[in-house]
Amino acid sequence: MPVTINTAPGSLTAVLVGDLDHHSAKPIRERIDAAIAEHRPTELVLDFGGITFMDSSGIGLVMGRYRLMEELGGKVVVDNAPTTIKKVMRLSGIDKLATINYGGADK
């Protein structure tokens, strides 16, 4: 699954495209964590606009990045989340830790 990393002062955006599952999560995580280590942003934006599928592996990914950003004193924002993944997001309680903005592809 392709990940594009964009940086702005203090902020790092990872644009994800495709299915976010256990299979794709590992390379995504490694790309993002390397970029965080390099840029040490105070805000991590996960752009889910191109996400076509997500299961609890995606929750694991967001949760893990939340913990990492917490250590750096930063925060996590999920942008353009497709409404199809709302149920899974809600259930996890992750929406209490990170800001989740809906409005992705299949809205």
Binding site: D19, H22, M54, S56, T84, K87
Partner: protein, 145 residues
């Protein structure tokens, strides 16, 4: 009730097959004319069950994952995901939200997601010999007969 159609799929517990299994279940369930939302629920629940075989059941290698699905005339789908992997010691604990035995990035929410998206989830497991997860959902309107 007799199924109107059934299928049996055996795959290897490779992570690349998580997406393949989702495609298969969507193509099969499509025969009952589900809404996009319902289809999304089914493929998500199936993805959790198959991923658990890849991540947990055969954690030290690969093995076979047996998926069967049946469509019923009253619009239900029943899916079974079976492995011959390590099995689950404490099933009650395993099904608790946020519980996971895996290190790293598992959220411990696989069973919780299955339960929230499907009408019925049944898990049978025997340590050392494997696990069977049964997922059931009404996905289509009732047909005649």
């Amino acid at each position: 009730m007799k199924a109107q159609n059934t299928m049996k799929l055996t795959i290897e517990s490779l992570s690349i097959n998580e997406g393949f299994a989702r495609s298969v279940i969507c193509a099969f369930a499509a025969q009952l004319d589900p809404t996009i939302d319902v289809l999304s629920d089914i493929r998500t629940a199936l993805s959790e069950a198959v991923t658990n075989c890849v991540v947990h059941a055969y954690k030290n290698g690969t093995g076979a994952v047996y998926i069967t699905a049946a469509l019923y005339p009253d619009g239900r789908i029943r899916i079974k995901v079976r492995d011959k992997g390590c099995g689950i010691e404490d099933l009650q604990k395993a099904m608790e939200p946020l519980f996971t035995t895996a290190d790293g990035e598992r959220a411990g929410l696989g069973f919780a997601v299955m339960q929230s998206l499907m009408d019925k989830v049944t898990v049978r497991s025997k340590p050392g010999s494997g696990t069977t997860v049964t997922l059931e959902k009404r996905i289509g309107s009732t047909h005649e007969g």
